[in-house]
């Protein structure tokens, strides 16, 4: 315990006495944490945009005029039991007509034609929303199967718009999957570059002390006694860099929230504030671990004497 106290105290003293070198290391760790925070926010924007696109995709099953409602509701139940399905909403033939009239209320010839027909020319339909865009195909395959689709020998389904939209859905699916992969790759590359730069900066600060490390070993200090204060210094770099990063992103997200909400589709400031705790934990852990682990490995070379 006394050893831990001494190591911690030495770490704080070394940090305060190293002056500009300490602050240079803090700056580099801050840049790394800014990159990580920016990536977190960009991922949020990307996911929000993709979710928005996914929201707009669905499959509609149009039923033949006069299709028995119990058959439609039975199909609705079967669809709801599928693991891929998130939501199924039923619009009856009557409601379909009502919606159609509302949609075309200014289109006089269409309304007049409807009035002349007298009978409802529209069938009901089911609107199916899958959990993932990629799952629409398996839902479509289910609809192609014989289960609950026929009334006697006649099919109750007029058409399924999946087949018409298949190309668009497939392309969208590819775009979403590509965007996610690209986002992950860009994240990985940026994080790796930042970590390498941070590691090298911390290695440089330890290189400056290499002679002193040798002296400490010669006066009989254990490896932990020599390494410990450098690791504490690394943790301090991470801690201070976290505070600076959180402060920097406060006005930056506020500005983006004011000016870019329409473009991004999400208020980045609201997102930042509502997720401040999680973001703080992520970047604090990243910063402290990065500082400590970099110090641990950077000093190793000079300890084996």
């Amino acid at each position: 315990m006394i050893e831990l106290k001494r190591i911690t105290k030495a770490g704080f003293i070394n940090f305060s006495r190293s002056g500009i070198i300490s602050w240079a290391a803090v700056l580099v760790v801050t840049i790394t944490l800014c990159v990580i925070t920016a990536i977190i926010l960009l991922q949020a924007v990307l996911h929000f945009s993709l979710d928005q696109i996914k929201e707009k995709v669905d499959v509609t099953i149009y039923f033949a005029v006069g299709a028995p409602e119990d058959k439609i509701l039975s199909l609705k139940k079967s669809l709801e039991s599928l693991p891929e399905v998130e939501k199924v909403s039923y619009v009856s033939a009557k409601d379909a007509l009502k919606l159609f009239r509302e949609r075309h209320q200014n289109d006089y010839p269409t309304i007049q034609a409807l009035d002349e027909i007298k009978d409802n020319p529209l069938g009901g339909y089911l609107n199916v929303k899958a959990k993932e865009v990629s799952q629409y195909e398996s839902i479509a395959n289910f609809l192609k199967s014989d289960d609950a689709l026929v009334s006697g020998s006649t099919s109750v389904i007029d058409k399924v718009n999946y087949n018409q939209n298949k190309t668009v859905i497939d392309r969208l699916n590819n775009i979403i999957s590509g965007a996610q992969k690209l986002g992950f790759l860009v994240t990985l590359i940026l994080v790796v570059i930042s970590v390498i730069i941070t590691f090298n900066t911390i290695r440089l600060t330890i290189f400056i002390s290499k002679e002193e490390i040798g002296v400490m070993r010669l006066v009989g200090a254990s490896k932990m006694r020599v390494r410990g204060p450098f690791m504490v210094e690394g943790a301090i770099y991470g801690l201070i860099a976290t505070i600076i990063t959180l402060i920097i992103f406060w006005p930056v997200t506020a500005y983006l929230g004011r000016t870019m909400t329409n473009f991004l589709g999400i208020n980045i400031y609201d997102y930042y504030i509502s997720n401040l705790f999680q973001i703080s934990v992520i970047i604090l852990l990243s910063g402290v671990l990065l500082g400590m682990v970099s110090s641990f490995f950077a000093i190793r070379k000079y300890l084996n004497k």
């Binding site: 003293i13 002296v215 070993r217 009989g220 200090a221 254990s222 490896k223 084996n304």
Partner: protein
């Protein structure tokens, strides 16, 4: 206490452009309580020899014993324990630049696991011994060469080591400071601590007396019980 058995050290042994022999088949015994001066020109192998006691240099062949311990076979932890039994003074002081005089000595005490109470009582005492009480909270760069070397000696003796190695301790000092350092080392030896001093300063050898080992080109050429500087 210390035994070198046919120790050789060759740098760049496999280099095509020729190797450099630092030590050539050196056999030497140092007994407890001795004051041994090792003299020789630069490059004679003095520093290489004393560094081997600390396992800071590894011989190409031969063995080095500290009492019954084969220094070269020590693992990391055992080596750390051995170094705690030896005090070292270097020509360039090798003080910890970002620590005050007090902290430099306290660090050596912390390294051997002394308590805070022991540190608080012993550090001012040893600083008084080397006449640095008024520099207790000065950093090395705020002290003169002589003061830094006295501080290095204070650090070396604080844990009451069995052996003091002083490698050219007066190399960077003027005559007055050299005299002071030699007197301190003699006092330490009088109290029973073995001292090994390397130097090429004739004045130092003449004022110390005792055993003088002369080295040339990695070999011991003279070993006199009451020797003089004869290079």
């Amino acid at each position: 206490m210390i035994y070198f058995n046919n120790v050789s050290k060759v740098y760049n042994k496999d280099a095509e452009k020729g190797s450099s022999i630092a030590l050539d088949d050196v056999t030497l015994t140092v007994t407890t309580g001795e004051f041994v001066s090792i003299v020789g020109h630069s490059g004679a192998g003095k520093t290489t020899l004393v560094k081997m006691i600390l396992a800071d240099e590894v011989p190409t062949s031969g063995t080095v014993f500290f009492e019954s311990i084969n220094v070269l076979k020590l693992k990391n932890k055992e080596l750390t324990k051995l170094r705690r039994r030896i005090g070292v003074v270097f020509q360039d002081f090798k003080l910890l630049s970002n620590k005050t005089a007090y902290e430099n000595i306290a660090f050596a005490m912390e390294a051997v696991g002394k308590t805070n109470e022991e540190i608080e009582s012993d550090v001012p005492h040893v600083l008084e011994l080397v006449d640095l009480s008024d520099k207790m909270f000065h950093f090395p760069y705020q002290m003169s060469g002589g003061e830094q070397q006295r501080l290095a000696i204070a650090r070396a003796i604080i844990n009451q080591p069995e052996l003091i190695i002083a490698d050219e301790p007066t190399g960077n000092l003027d005559a007055i400071n050299t005299y002071e350092i030699v007197q301190i080392l003699k006092k330490i030896n009088d109290l029973g601590t073995t001292v090994i001093l390397t130097t090429h300063n004739r004045g130092v050898i003449d004022s110390v007396g005792g055993r003088v080992i002369t080295m040339e080109k990695g070999k011991i050429t003279r070993d006199d019980k009451n020797g003089k500087y004869v290079i």
